[in-house]
Subunit: 219 residues, 2 copies
DNA sequence: ATTTGATTTAATCAAATGATTGAACTATCC
DNA sequence: GGATAGTTCAATCATTTGATTAAATCAAAT
Protein backbone atom coordinates (compact mmCIF):
# COMPACT_ATOMS: atom_id res chain seq x y z
CA UNK A 1 0.00 0.00 0.00
CA UNK A 2 3.00 2.31 -0.02
CA UNK A 3 3.52 4.85 -2.73
CA UNK A 4 6.06 4.03 -5.43
CA UNK A 5 8.93 6.45 -5.07
CA UNK A 6 10.37 8.34 -8.02
CA UNK A 7 13.84 7.33 -6.89
CA UNK A 8 13.30 3.71 -6.04
CA UNK A 9 16.09 1.32 -6.77
CA UNK A 10 14.53 -0.26 -9.84
CA UNK A 11 13.18 2.99 -11.18
CA UNK A 12 16.71 4.23 -11.62
CA UNK A 13 17.38 1.62 -14.28
CA UNK A 14 17.23 2.89 -17.80
CA UNK A 15 14.13 0.86 -18.55
CA UNK A 16 12.25 0.65 -15.31
CA UNK A 17 8.80 -0.83 -15.23
CA UNK A 18 7.41 2.62 -14.68
CA UNK A 19 9.07 3.93 -17.83
CA UNK A 20 8.08 0.92 -19.87
CA UNK A 21 4.46 1.48 -18.96
CA UNK A 22 4.70 5.16 -19.75
CA UNK A 23 6.26 4.53 -23.13
CA UNK A 24 3.67 1.91 -23.95
CA UNK A 25 0.94 4.29 -22.85
CA UNK A 26 2.38 7.02 -25.04
CA UNK A 27 2.37 4.80 -28.09
CA UNK A 28 -1.13 3.45 -27.56
CA UNK A 29 -2.72 6.75 -26.52
CA UNK A 30 -1.10 8.55 -29.45
CA UNK A 31 -2.46 5.98 -31.84
CA UNK A 32 -5.93 5.30 -30.47
CA UNK A 33 -6.80 8.21 -28.22
CA UNK A 34 -8.07 8.14 -24.65
CA UNK A 35 -11.49 6.63 -25.25
CA UNK A 36 -10.16 4.15 -27.79
CA UNK A 37 -7.51 2.80 -25.43
CA UNK A 38 -8.11 0.22 -22.70
CA UNK A 39 -5.87 -0.21 -19.71
CA UNK A 40 -5.37 -3.78 -20.88
CA UNK A 41 -4.10 -2.48 -24.23
CA UNK A 42 -1.41 -0.53 -22.42
CA UNK A 43 -0.49 -3.38 -20.10
CA UNK A 44 -0.16 -5.77 -23.03
CA UNK A 45 1.88 -3.28 -25.05
CA UNK A 46 4.20 -2.88 -22.08
CA UNK A 47 4.32 -6.62 -21.46
CA UNK A 48 3.19 -6.01 -17.89
CA UNK A 49 0.39 -6.90 -15.54
CA UNK A 50 -2.65 -4.69 -15.53
CA UNK A 51 -2.34 -3.96 -11.82
CA UNK A 52 1.03 -2.30 -12.32
CA UNK A 53 -0.53 0.48 -14.30
CA UNK A 54 -2.75 1.36 -11.38
CA UNK A 55 0.07 0.84 -8.91
CA UNK A 56 2.37 3.32 -10.62
CA UNK A 57 -0.07 5.80 -12.09
CA UNK A 58 -3.24 5.50 -10.04
CA UNK A 59 -5.52 4.88 -12.98
CA UNK A 60 -6.02 5.43 -16.68
CA UNK A 61 -7.02 9.08 -16.43
CA UNK A 62 -3.98 10.10 -14.40
CA UNK A 63 -1.63 8.27 -16.76
CA UNK A 64 -3.28 9.91 -19.71
CA UNK A 65 -2.90 13.37 -18.24
CA UNK A 66 0.83 12.78 -17.80
CA UNK A 67 1.21 11.66 -21.41
CA UNK A 68 -0.87 14.55 -22.70
CA UNK A 69 1.08 17.13 -20.74
CA UNK A 70 4.46 15.77 -21.78
CA UNK A 71 3.35 15.54 -25.39
CA UNK A 72 2.15 19.11 -25.61
CA UNK A 73 5.13 20.41 -23.69
CA UNK A 74 7.45 18.58 -26.07
CA UNK A 75 5.64 20.10 -28.99
CA UNK A 76 5.96 23.64 -27.70
CA UNK A 77 9.36 23.30 -26.11
CA UNK A 78 10.97 22.16 -29.34
CA UNK A 79 10.66 25.63 -30.88
CA UNK A 80 9.93 27.99 -28.00
CA UNK A 81 13.56 28.98 -27.67
CA UNK A 82 14.07 29.78 -31.34
CA UNK A 83 10.95 31.92 -31.59
CA UNK A 84 12.39 34.29 -29.00
CA UNK A 85 15.80 34.73 -30.62
CA UNK A 86 16.31 38.47 -31.05
CA UNK A 87 18.93 37.96 -33.76
CA UNK A 88 17.04 35.99 -36.37
CA UNK A 89 14.68 37.33 -39.04
CA UNK A 90 11.11 36.23 -39.65
CA UNK A 91 12.32 34.17 -42.58
CA UNK A 92 15.00 32.46 -40.50
CA UNK A 93 12.49 31.65 -37.77
CA UNK A 94 10.18 30.19 -40.38
CA UNK A 95 12.97 27.94 -41.64
CA UNK A 96 13.88 26.80 -38.15
CA UNK A 97 10.29 26.10 -37.19
CA UNK A 98 9.65 24.12 -40.34
CA UNK A 99 12.82 22.07 -39.90
CA UNK A 100 12.12 21.35 -36.25
CA UNK A 101 8.51 20.37 -36.69
CA UNK A 102 9.10 18.21 -39.73
CA UNK A 103 11.88 16.47 -37.80
CA UNK A 104 9.65 15.95 -34.79
CA UNK A 105 6.64 14.79 -36.77
CA UNK A 106 8.62 12.42 -38.94
CA UNK A 107 9.59 10.74 -35.68
CA UNK A 108 6.12 10.96 -34.10
CA UNK A 109 3.51 11.54 -36.79
CA UNK A 110 0.56 10.77 -34.54
CA UNK A 111 1.07 13.71 -32.21
CA UNK A 112 -1.08 16.29 -34.02
CA UNK A 113 -4.22 14.19 -34.37
CA UNK A 114 -3.72 12.97 -30.82
CA UNK A 115 -3.57 16.46 -29.37
CA UNK A 116 -6.30 17.90 -31.54
CA UNK A 117 -8.80 15.11 -31.07
CA UNK A 118 -8.36 15.08 -27.31
CA UNK A 119 -8.57 18.83 -27.07
CA UNK A 120 -11.68 19.00 -29.25
CA UNK A 121 -13.80 20.77 -26.74
CA UNK A 122 -12.03 21.94 -23.65
CA UNK A 123 -8.37 22.89 -24.09
CA UNK A 124 -8.39 25.23 -21.09
CA UNK A 125 -6.42 23.01 -18.73
CA UNK A 126 -3.72 22.59 -21.33
CA UNK A 127 -3.47 26.26 -22.12
CA UNK A 128 -2.97 26.99 -18.45
CA UNK A 129 -0.67 24.09 -17.58
CA UNK A 130 1.65 24.54 -20.53
CA UNK A 131 1.61 28.29 -20.73
CA UNK A 132 0.60 28.12 -24.36
CA UNK A 133 -0.62 31.68 -24.51
CA UNK A 134 2.60 33.22 -23.26
CA UNK A 135 4.74 30.95 -25.43
CA UNK A 136 3.06 32.22 -28.57
CA UNK A 137 1.59 35.65 -27.90
CA UNK A 138 4.60 36.83 -25.96
CA UNK A 139 7.16 35.54 -28.44
CA UNK A 140 9.59 37.74 -30.31
CA UNK A 141 8.32 36.11 -33.51
CA UNK A 142 4.83 37.54 -33.08
CA UNK A 143 6.31 40.96 -32.32
CA UNK A 144 8.28 40.80 -35.55
CA UNK A 145 5.17 39.86 -37.50
CA UNK A 146 3.25 42.81 -36.13
CA UNK A 147 6.12 45.17 -36.92
CA UNK A 148 6.35 43.85 -40.44
CA UNK A 149 2.86 45.09 -41.10
CA UNK A 150 3.82 48.58 -40.07
CA UNK A 151 6.66 48.84 -42.57
CA UNK A 152 4.33 48.95 -45.55
CA UNK A 153 1.61 51.52 -45.79
CA UNK A 154 -1.14 49.19 -44.67
CA UNK A 155 -1.49 47.29 -41.45
CA UNK A 156 -0.82 43.60 -41.31
CA UNK A 157 -3.89 41.50 -40.78
CA UNK A 158 -3.91 39.65 -37.49
CA UNK A 159 -0.50 37.91 -37.26
CA UNK A 160 -2.54 34.84 -36.41
CA UNK A 161 -3.17 34.48 -40.13
CA UNK A 162 0.53 34.12 -40.77
CA UNK A 163 0.91 31.54 -38.00
CA UNK A 164 -2.07 29.55 -39.24
CA UNK A 165 -0.64 29.47 -42.73
CA UNK A 166 2.76 28.39 -41.48
CA UNK A 167 1.55 25.71 -39.10
CA UNK A 168 -1.16 24.61 -41.47
CA UNK A 169 1.27 23.99 -44.29
CA UNK A 170 3.67 22.19 -41.94
CA UNK A 171 1.38 20.14 -39.73
CA UNK A 172 -1.60 19.49 -42.00
CA UNK A 173 0.14 16.94 -44.22
CA UNK A 174 0.95 14.82 -41.16
CA UNK A 175 -2.65 15.06 -40.00
CA UNK A 176 -3.89 13.87 -43.37
CA UNK A 177 -1.07 11.41 -43.92
CA UNK A 178 -3.30 8.31 -44.10
CA UNK A 179 -5.53 9.98 -46.66
CA UNK A 180 -2.63 11.32 -48.67
CA UNK A 181 -0.97 7.95 -48.68
CA UNK A 182 -4.18 6.27 -49.68
CA UNK A 183 -5.24 8.68 -52.38
CA UNK A 184 -1.80 9.22 -53.84
CA UNK A 185 -0.68 5.67 -53.26
CA UNK A 186 2.38 6.70 -51.30
CA UNK A 187 4.44 4.47 -49.05
CA UNK A 188 6.47 5.63 -46.03
CA UNK A 189 9.53 6.43 -48.10
CA UNK A 190 7.65 8.54 -50.60
CA UNK A 191 5.88 10.41 -47.85
CA UNK A 192 9.19 11.18 -46.20
CA UNK A 193 10.53 12.45 -49.52
CA UNK A 194 7.48 14.66 -49.91
CA UNK A 195 7.97 16.17 -46.48
CA UNK A 196 11.66 16.69 -47.14
CA UNK A 197 10.71 18.69 -50.22
CA UNK A 198 8.43 20.78 -48.05
CA UNK A 199 11.36 21.79 -45.84
CA UNK A 200 12.36 23.94 -48.81
CA UNK A 201 8.97 24.73 -50.28
CA UNK A 202 7.22 25.98 -47.14
CA UNK A 203 9.77 28.70 -46.33
CA UNK A 204 9.63 29.70 -49.99
CA UNK A 205 5.87 29.87 -49.85
CA UNK A 206 5.87 31.92 -46.67
CA UNK A 207 8.39 34.28 -48.25
CA UNK A 208 6.16 34.68 -51.31
CA UNK A 209 3.20 35.36 -49.03
CA UNK A 210 5.09 38.00 -47.07
CA UNK A 211 6.72 39.69 -50.04
CA UNK A 212 3.51 39.55 -52.04
CA UNK A 213 1.84 41.43 -49.16
CA UNK A 214 -0.77 38.73 -49.16
CA UNK A 215 -1.32 38.92 -45.41
CA UNK A 216 -2.07 42.61 -45.17
CA UNK A 217 -5.52 43.47 -43.87
CA UNK A 218 -8.31 42.95 -46.40
CA UNK A 219 -9.70 46.17 -47.85
CA UNK B 1 -38.99 -9.00 -35.85
CA UNK B 2 -39.57 -7.52 -39.28
CA UNK B 3 -37.10 -5.17 -40.88
CA UNK B 4 -37.84 -1.46 -40.73
CA UNK B 5 -38.57 -0.37 -44.28
CA UNK B 6 -37.08 2.75 -45.80
CA UNK B 7 -40.54 3.71 -47.05
CA UNK B 8 -42.61 2.95 -44.00
CA UNK B 9 -45.44 5.26 -43.16
CA UNK B 10 -43.73 7.01 -40.29
CA UNK B 11 -40.38 7.22 -41.99
CA UNK B 12 -41.89 9.40 -44.66
CA UNK B 13 -42.52 12.19 -42.16
CA UNK B 14 -39.97 14.95 -42.17
CA UNK B 15 -38.70 14.04 -38.74
CA UNK B 16 -39.15 10.34 -38.48
CA UNK B 17 -37.70 8.45 -35.57
CA UNK B 18 -35.10 7.04 -37.90
CA UNK B 19 -33.99 10.52 -38.98
CA UNK B 20 -33.98 11.85 -35.46
CA UNK B 21 -31.66 9.07 -34.38
CA UNK B 22 -29.39 9.64 -37.33
CA UNK B 23 -29.17 13.36 -36.69
CA UNK B 24 -28.46 12.76 -33.03
CA UNK B 25 -25.82 10.20 -33.95
CA UNK B 26 -24.22 12.63 -36.35
CA UNK B 27 -23.96 15.33 -33.70
CA UNK B 28 -22.60 13.03 -31.01
CA UNK B 29 -20.20 11.11 -33.25
CA UNK B 30 -18.86 14.33 -34.75
CA UNK B 31 -18.21 15.72 -31.32
CA UNK B 32 -16.89 12.69 -29.43
CA UNK B 33 -15.82 10.16 -32.05
CA UNK B 34 -16.73 6.49 -32.30
CA UNK B 35 -14.97 5.20 -29.22
CA UNK B 36 -15.99 8.19 -27.12
CA UNK B 37 -19.67 7.77 -27.92
CA UNK B 38 -22.01 5.32 -26.22
CA UNK B 39 -25.22 4.10 -27.75
CA UNK B 40 -26.96 5.56 -24.70
CA UNK B 41 -25.46 8.97 -25.52
CA UNK B 42 -27.09 8.85 -28.91
CA UNK B 43 -30.41 7.58 -27.60
CA UNK B 44 -30.52 10.34 -25.00
CA UNK B 45 -29.56 13.01 -27.53
CA UNK B 46 -32.36 11.78 -29.78
CA UNK B 47 -34.81 11.56 -26.89
CA UNK B 48 -35.41 7.93 -27.75
CA UNK B 49 -35.14 4.49 -26.26
CA UNK B 50 -31.86 2.66 -26.64
CA UNK B 51 -33.47 -0.30 -28.39
CA UNK B 52 -34.62 1.89 -31.28
CA UNK B 53 -31.05 2.49 -32.32
CA UNK B 54 -30.49 -1.21 -32.74
CA UNK B 55 -33.91 -1.71 -34.31
CA UNK B 56 -33.30 0.85 -37.06
CA UNK B 57 -29.56 0.59 -37.56
CA UNK B 58 -28.54 -2.87 -36.33
CA UNK B 59 -25.95 -1.62 -33.93
CA UNK B 60 -23.50 1.16 -33.17
CA UNK B 61 -20.94 0.17 -35.79
CA UNK B 62 -23.41 0.14 -38.66
CA UNK B 63 -24.86 3.49 -37.65
CA UNK B 64 -21.41 4.94 -37.42
CA UNK B 65 -20.47 3.75 -40.87
CA UNK B 66 -23.52 5.45 -42.32
CA UNK B 67 -22.65 8.72 -40.61
CA UNK B 68 -19.01 8.51 -41.65
CA UNK B 69 -19.84 7.80 -45.27
CA UNK B 70 -22.37 10.61 -45.50
CA UNK B 71 -20.00 13.02 -43.80
CA UNK B 72 -17.10 12.33 -46.12
CA UNK B 73 -19.31 12.31 -49.17
CA UNK B 74 -20.74 15.68 -48.15
CA UNK B 75 -17.25 17.00 -47.74
CA UNK B 76 -16.14 15.89 -51.19
CA UNK B 77 -19.39 16.48 -53.02
CA UNK B 78 -19.52 20.12 -51.98
CA UNK B 79 -16.65 21.01 -54.31
CA UNK B 80 -16.26 18.07 -56.68
CA UNK B 81 -18.30 19.76 -59.38
CA UNK B 82 -16.39 23.03 -59.33
CA UNK B 83 -12.98 21.37 -59.51
CA UNK B 84 -13.92 19.87 -62.86
CA UNK B 85 -15.17 23.07 -64.47
CA UNK B 86 -13.22 23.46 -67.70
CA UNK B 87 -13.92 27.17 -67.87
CA UNK B 88 -12.46 28.44 -64.61
CA UNK B 89 -8.83 29.26 -63.86
CA UNK B 90 -6.73 27.87 -61.03
CA UNK B 91 -7.25 31.08 -59.15
CA UNK B 92 -11.01 30.96 -59.59
CA UNK B 93 -11.12 27.36 -58.41
CA UNK B 94 -9.13 28.33 -55.35
CA UNK B 95 -11.61 31.07 -54.55
CA UNK B 96 -14.57 28.75 -54.97
CA UNK B 97 -13.02 26.01 -52.86
CA UNK B 98 -12.14 28.39 -50.06
CA UNK B 99 -15.62 29.92 -50.05
CA UNK B 100 -17.33 26.55 -50.08
CA UNK B 101 -15.24 24.99 -47.37
CA UNK B 102 -15.35 27.95 -45.06
CA UNK B 103 -19.12 28.01 -45.49
CA UNK B 104 -19.39 24.31 -44.76
CA UNK B 105 -17.04 24.36 -41.79
CA UNK B 106 -18.61 27.40 -40.21
CA UNK B 107 -21.79 25.33 -40.15
CA UNK B 108 -20.12 22.09 -39.04
CA UNK B 109 -16.72 22.83 -37.54
CA UNK B 110 -16.28 19.36 -36.07
CA UNK B 111 -16.13 17.54 -39.37
CA UNK B 112 -12.36 17.69 -39.97
CA UNK B 113 -11.23 16.36 -36.61
CA UNK B 114 -13.99 13.77 -36.78
CA UNK B 115 -12.88 12.44 -40.14
CA UNK B 116 -9.17 12.64 -39.42
CA UNK B 117 -9.26 11.03 -36.00
CA UNK B 118 -11.42 8.16 -37.20
CA UNK B 119 -9.29 7.60 -40.26
CA UNK B 120 -6.05 7.64 -38.30
CA UNK B 121 -4.91 4.26 -39.39
CA UNK B 122 -6.96 2.61 -42.06
CA UNK B 123 -8.69 4.95 -44.51
CA UNK B 124 -8.85 2.33 -47.24
CA UNK B 125 -12.54 1.58 -46.99
CA UNK B 126 -13.33 5.26 -47.25
CA UNK B 127 -11.09 5.83 -50.22
CA UNK B 128 -12.83 3.04 -52.05
CA UNK B 129 -16.40 3.77 -51.00
CA UNK B 130 -16.25 7.48 -51.72
CA UNK B 131 -14.04 7.38 -54.78
CA UNK B 132 -11.70 9.86 -53.19
CA UNK B 133 -8.84 9.07 -55.49
CA UNK B 134 -10.75 9.74 -58.70
CA UNK B 135 -12.40 12.86 -57.28
CA UNK B 136 -9.02 14.45 -56.66
CA UNK B 137 -6.46 12.86 -58.94
CA UNK B 138 -8.77 12.85 -61.95
CA UNK B 139 -10.00 16.41 -61.46
CA UNK B 140 -9.47 19.15 -63.99
CA UNK B 141 -7.97 21.20 -61.17
CA UNK B 142 -5.04 18.83 -60.76
CA UNK B 143 -4.49 18.80 -64.52
CA UNK B 144 -4.32 22.58 -64.51
CA UNK B 145 -1.81 22.54 -61.67
CA UNK B 146 0.46 20.15 -63.53
CA UNK B 147 0.23 22.24 -66.68
CA UNK B 148 1.08 25.38 -64.78
CA UNK B 149 4.39 23.91 -63.88
CA UNK B 150 5.21 23.31 -67.51
CA UNK B 151 4.67 26.92 -68.52
CA UNK B 152 7.75 28.12 -66.69
CA UNK B 153 11.12 26.67 -67.41
CA UNK B 154 11.12 24.37 -64.40
CA UNK B 155 8.69 21.64 -63.54
CA UNK B 156 6.14 22.17 -60.82
CA UNK B 157 6.81 20.13 -57.74
CA UNK B 158 4.18 17.50 -57.06
CA UNK B 159 0.81 19.33 -57.33
CA UNK B 160 0.08 17.69 -54.01
CA UNK B 161 2.11 20.48 -52.42
CA UNK B 162 -0.25 23.07 -53.77
CA UNK B 163 -3.29 21.13 -52.56
CA UNK B 164 -1.81 20.64 -49.12
CA UNK B 165 -1.09 24.35 -48.84
CA UNK B 166 -4.59 25.26 -49.93
CA UNK B 167 -6.42 22.77 -47.75
CA UNK B 168 -4.06 23.30 -44.86
CA UNK B 169 -4.64 27.04 -44.80
CA UNK B 170 -8.40 26.54 -45.11
CA UNK B 171 -9.09 23.57 -42.86
CA UNK B 172 -6.33 23.83 -40.26
CA UNK B 173 -7.83 26.80 -38.40
CA UNK B 174 -11.05 24.83 -37.86
CA UNK B 175 -9.06 21.87 -36.60
CA UNK B 176 -7.24 24.05 -34.11
CA UNK B 177 -10.23 26.23 -33.32
CA UNK B 178 -10.36 25.33 -29.61
CA UNK B 179 -6.67 26.12 -29.22
CA UNK B 180 -6.88 29.32 -31.23
CA UNK B 181 -9.87 30.45 -29.24
CA UNK B 182 -8.15 29.61 -25.99
CA UNK B 183 -4.76 31.13 -26.78
CA UNK B 184 -6.07 34.21 -28.53
CA UNK B 185 -9.09 34.56 -26.28
CA UNK B 186 -11.55 34.56 -29.14
CA UNK B 187 -15.28 33.98 -28.91
CA UNK B 188 -17.46 32.53 -31.66
CA UNK B 189 -18.05 35.89 -33.28
CA UNK B 190 -14.38 36.79 -33.44
CA UNK B 191 -13.50 33.42 -34.86
CA UNK B 192 -16.12 33.83 -37.56
CA UNK B 193 -14.69 37.25 -38.39
CA UNK B 194 -11.21 35.74 -38.62
CA UNK B 195 -12.40 33.06 -41.02
CA UNK B 196 -14.27 35.61 -43.08
CA UNK B 197 -11.01 37.54 -43.46
CA UNK B 198 -9.38 34.34 -44.65
CA UNK B 199 -11.86 34.06 -47.51
CA UNK B 200 -9.91 36.94 -49.01
CA UNK B 201 -6.46 36.22 -47.62
CA UNK B 202 -6.13 32.57 -48.62
CA UNK B 203 -6.73 33.13 -52.35
CA UNK B 204 -4.28 36.04 -52.14
CA UNK B 205 -1.72 33.82 -50.46
CA UNK B 206 -2.15 31.05 -53.01
CA UNK B 207 -1.76 33.61 -55.78
CA UNK B 208 1.45 34.88 -54.23
CA UNK B 209 2.71 31.31 -53.94
CA UNK B 210 1.94 30.56 -57.57
CA UNK B 211 3.25 33.82 -58.98
CA UNK B 212 6.29 33.71 -56.77
CA UNK B 213 7.03 30.30 -58.28
CA UNK B 214 7.31 29.00 -54.75
CA UNK B 215 5.93 25.58 -55.62
CA UNK B 216 8.36 24.73 -58.38
CA UNK B 217 10.51 21.70 -57.77
CA UNK B 218 13.34 22.30 -55.27
CA UNK B 219 16.76 22.50 -56.89
C1' DA C 1 -64.14 -3.67 -34.38
C1' DT C 2 -60.63 -6.63 -35.61
C1' DT C 3 -56.60 -7.90 -37.59
C1' DT C 4 -52.09 -7.18 -39.04
C1' DG C 5 -47.69 -5.34 -39.43
C1' DA C 6 -44.79 -1.64 -37.76
C1' DT C 7 -43.02 0.83 -33.86
C1' DT C 8 -41.77 1.63 -29.01
C1' DT C 9 -40.80 0.49 -24.25
C1' DA C 10 -38.86 -1.55 -19.87
C1' DA C 11 -36.20 -5.17 -18.36
C1' DT C 12 -32.42 -7.97 -18.90
C1' DC C 13 -28.08 -10.33 -20.68
C1' DA C 14 -23.27 -11.04 -21.61
C1' DA C 15 -19.00 -9.13 -22.48
C1' DA C 16 -15.67 -5.57 -21.76
C1' DT C 17 -13.37 -2.58 -18.78
C1' DG C 18 -11.35 0.22 -14.85
C1' DA C 19 -9.94 -0.76 -10.57
C1' DT C 20 -8.74 -3.35 -6.20
C1' DT C 21 -7.20 -7.06 -3.24
C1' DG C 22 -4.21 -10.13 -0.89
C1' DA C 23 -0.65 -13.05 -1.48
C1' DA C 24 3.88 -13.92 -3.40
C1' DC C 25 8.30 -12.42 -4.77
C1' DT C 26 12.71 -9.49 -4.71
C1' DA C 27 16.31 -6.63 -3.21
C1' DT C 28 18.55 -4.19 0.39
C1' DC C 29 19.99 -3.41 5.05
C1' DC C 30 21.13 -5.02 9.71
C1' DG D 1 19.49 -15.34 8.19
C1' DG D 2 15.72 -12.29 9.03
C1' DA D 3 13.31 -7.93 8.71
C1' DT D 4 11.64 -4.38 5.88
C1' DA D 5 10.22 -1.69 2.02
C1' DG D 6 9.25 -2.07 -2.59
C1' DT D 7 7.45 -4.65 -6.58
C1' DT D 8 4.69 -8.08 -9.24
C1' DC D 9 0.99 -11.27 -10.11
C1' DA D 10 -3.52 -13.94 -10.43
C1' DA D 11 -7.99 -13.50 -9.14
C1' DT D 12 -11.89 -10.86 -8.45
C1' DC D 13 -15.25 -6.86 -8.11
C1' DA D 14 -18.42 -3.30 -9.70
C1' DT D 15 -19.77 -0.62 -13.38
C1' DT D 16 -20.43 0.43 -18.05
C1' DT D 17 -21.88 -0.72 -22.41
C1' DG D 18 -23.59 -2.94 -26.74
C1' DA D 19 -27.18 -5.74 -27.71
C1' DT D 20 -31.52 -8.59 -27.19
C1' DT D 21 -36.06 -9.97 -25.70
C1' DA D 22 -40.87 -10.08 -24.93
C1' DA D 23 -44.55 -7.47 -24.21
C1' DA D 24 -47.16 -3.16 -25.14
C1' DT D 25 -48.72 0.41 -28.25
C1' DC D 26 -49.97 2.45 -32.59
C1' DA D 27 -51.77 3.02 -37.35
C1' DA D 28 -53.75 1.51 -41.38
C1' DA D 29 -56.46 -1.90 -43.96
C1' DT D 30 -60.37 -4.88 -44.06
Amino acid sequence: MTEPSKESTKASNQFSTEEKIKEAARRVFHQKGFAGTTTRDIAREAGMNLALLNYYFRGKKKLFEIIMLETVQGFIQSIKHYLNDQDTSIQQKVEILVENYIDLLQREPNIPVFILSEVRNDPSYLIEQVGLREAILGSHFVKQLMEFGDKTGRKMANPLHFLINLLGMTVFPFITKPLLSGVWGMDEKQFKALMDERRILIPRAMKAILEGNAMLAPS
